[in-house]
């Protein structure tokens, strides 16, 4: 069967698409986890019991207080040494509130950085694949160079130069992760542009822009979606990594930064597990949710994977 026919089989109305998507176990789990975090991020001020940066809460909770429910297991701990659902940090701030606000940063950075990377990657992939020749050669060699340079050190250097702010982190992640997307998009463009409907459009007198946006882009979009989802997971991990190394934006609490401070104030030595586990698990869950969604999209949109089942 031709690629064309396979592609056509997967074009469905949104409703049909949703139906298939929600039949996919991974897809459902992914969306379920993600919606919890999105809810958290949107309604952070309403949900969180305290201001996450509020040191005044020292009055209520001492630094490094374990969560209140620990008393179920150990009744000997005095009431004023425990605090809230997740305890407090080195300054006695409420960790639960920090986790809730942290989801905002993770998701914003994830979406924005991935959007940047996918946007640049798609444009470059389209141009390189469609025009070919010397343009392709130059763009792809540039992409190769970025791919060869070890990612994390480059990002550390860039983040250090640009200074710590959310915007810079988004930029750094976006700039460093477009090449792999551009490569994937380019290879698909190479296939689509050889198809006869593209040649007909040319025979009818269409210009390059028209052909790229009307005929080629819609046929590479499924690939863009899949890559966007997986890239968000990647971006969130990188943000956490950079923040953990102390390159995050100190004005905004993020999960990575919580881990950074936990490490700085020797939470491990103090056995303050309530300080380490919540951000770690949150990062894991959000990343996992995007990977699940990406996997589900890939299975639905990528004919070869579907045939294998």
């Amino acid at each position: 069967m031709s690629l064309q026919k396979l592609m056509e089989e997967h074009i469905k109305s949104l409703r049909e698409f949703a139906n298939t998507f929600f039949k996919n176990k991974f897809g459902v789990i992914g969306v379920a986890i993600l919606s919890v975090f999105i809810f958290m991020a949107i309604f952070a001020p309403q949900i969180s019991p305290y201001n996450p940066m509020d040191v005044k809460s020292i009055g209520v909770g001492k630094p490094f207080s374990p969560p209140a429910w620990i008393k179920i297991f150990n009744k000997d701990i005095p009431d004023d040494s425990v605090f809230g659902i997740m305890g407090t940090d080195e300054l006695g701030r409420d960790i639960f509130s920090q986790i809730i606000y942290g989801s905002r940063i993770s998701l914003i950075v994830g979406f924005a950085a991935s959007f940047t990377a996918v946007f640049i990657g798609t444009i470059i992939g389209l141009i390189a694949g469609y025009y070919g020749g010397i343009i392709d050669e130059v763009l792809m060699r540039f992409a190769d160079i970025l791919l060869i340079i070890p990612g994390l050190p480059l990002m550390i250097v860039l983040a250090a130069i640009l200074g710590p702010s959310i915007r810079n982190i988004i930029l750094v992640i976006g700039i460093t992760s477009w090449p792999s997307i551009a490569r994937i998009i380019r290879s698909q463009v190479l296939t689509v542009k050889e198809m006869k409907f593209v040649e007909f459009a040319r025979a009818a007198g269409c210009g390059d822009n028209y052909i790229i946006f009307k005929h080629i882009l819609p046929n590479v979009m499924p690939l863009v979606y899949v890559n966007a989802a997986i890239n968000i997971a990647n971006a969130i991990l990188i943000e956490a990594g950079l923040s953990f190394l102390g390159l995050g934006d100190p004005n905004n609490i993020s999960w990575g930064m919580m881990l950074f401070f936990a490490e700085q104030y020797q939470a491990l030595l103090r056995l303050a597990w309530w300080y380490i586990f919540p951000p770690g698990i949150c990062i894991l869950l959000v990343v996992l949710s995007f990977i699940f969604i990406g996997h589900a999209l890939d299975e639905i949109l990528n004919p070869r994977l579907r045939l294998r089942r």
Partner: protein, 339 residues
């Protein structure tokens, strides 16, 4: 180069003069350092013919003979290496794509594969209306819709309302090909290149699509270049035919003359090899052996000589020129040049 405006013979819509298309093979960096001249595939090598107004002109031959490349060169979908293409009295060989755009209204193409020729993400109405939109023919959406509906009716996709909003995957192979026919004819072009338009369809559907195409041709007086490997089909569709072998036309003329009394040894072999749907028919012996050699290193002299049962010394040395025989056919063979 200045554009040569040729005053046309009114009855010719297309004139192709000595058209050549060489493809340069891409080589690795190392080989390109050792050898200077990159290898060239002479896909089309000096082809001349003309197409009359309203005529169906067949371009036939085995795979790799250059028939598709010729068709694409004529429409300037690929750039010819040399030669001249005179379309409707105007030399279009060196026009820029921008200058060509208004002329594209008058020349269209139909492809072989109905699954690859329609954009899977566009609806039938948009697919058929695309040429209208690009050429900015319609003043309103209503006008455009009416034209699309009329076209759907003409290709017998009725009722048109039912087919307008379908996506290609909701159509059968034959229906898709009719959409392709509708799309090609909607601008009432003067010339259509039909590249094996039915060879991927089942027999029972094939003639339906062909008949739709022929009726459209009759309505608009369009000339068609019918590219095919199927000589039986060519016989039923075309008025004149050119037989190609390794980038050259070796015999050309009235379709019945050429196919019933072939003179060129290759045409003779080709027509003899066509199976006939009649169990009483005694098959003629095919005099030639072997397969078509590579166009990368075509034989010297007459390209057919290594396989030709009548080859003489001259055939390997001198390329036969094309001559006109008494019955009006053109032939390139030393059996008839007298050399």
């Amino acid at each position: 180069m200045p554009h040569v405006v040729v005053i046309s013979m009114v009855d010719e819509v297309l004139k192709v003069i000595n058209l050549k298309k060489y493809f340069t093979l891409r080589r690795g960096l190392l080989t390109s350092l050792i050898k200077r001249e990159p290898p060239k595939v002479k896909a089309v090598d000096g082809v001349s013919f003309n197409v009359k107004r309203g005529e169906i002109f067949g371009l036939a031959g085995e795979s790799g003979c250059g028939k598709t490349t010729t068709g694409r060169c004529i429409l300037r979908l690929i750039e010819p290496t040399s030669g001249k293409i005179i379309f409707d009295g105007k030399d279009i060989t060196n026009l820029s794509q921008g200058e060509l755009k208004p002329l594209r209204k008058d020349m269209q193409i139909i492809f072989q594969d109905p699954y690859e020729s329609l954009n899977p993400r566009m609806r039938v109405r948009d697919i058929i209306a695309e040429p209208l939109r690009i050429q900015r023919i319609c003043k309103s959406r209503r006008e455009e819709e009416e034209m699309v509906m009329k076209m759907l009716e003409e290709v017998e996709l009725t009722p048109p309302e039912e087919f307008m909003n379908r996506l290609p995957h909701e159509l059968s192979g034959g229906q898709r090909q009719r959409v392709a026919v509708a799309r090609a004819f909607i601008l009432k072009p003067k010339l259509i290149v039909a590249d094996e338009p039915v060879s991927m369809l089942d027999i029972s559907i094939r003639s339906e699509v062909l008949n739709v195409m022929l009726r459209e041709r009759d309505t608009y007086g369009t000339s068609i270049i019918f590219i095919t490997h199927d000589l039986s089909l060519a016989r039923h569709i075309c008025e004149r035919i050119a037989i190609m072998y390794l980038g050259k036309i070796i015999e050309m003329g009235d379709v019945e003359t050429i196919l019933q009394e072939p003179k060129h040894p290759y045409t003779q072999a080709l027509t003899a090899a066509v199976p006939i749907p009649d169990p009483d028919h005694k098959r003629e012996i095919i005099p030639i052996k072997g397969e078509v050699p590579s166009a990368l290193n075509p034989p010297s002299g007459c390209r057919f000589h290594p396989r030709c049962p009548y080859a003489k010394d001259t055939c390997g040395k001198i390329e036969p020129e094309t001559i006109t025989l008494e019955d009006g056919r053109l032939i390139a063979c030393h059996l008839y040049t007298g050399k």
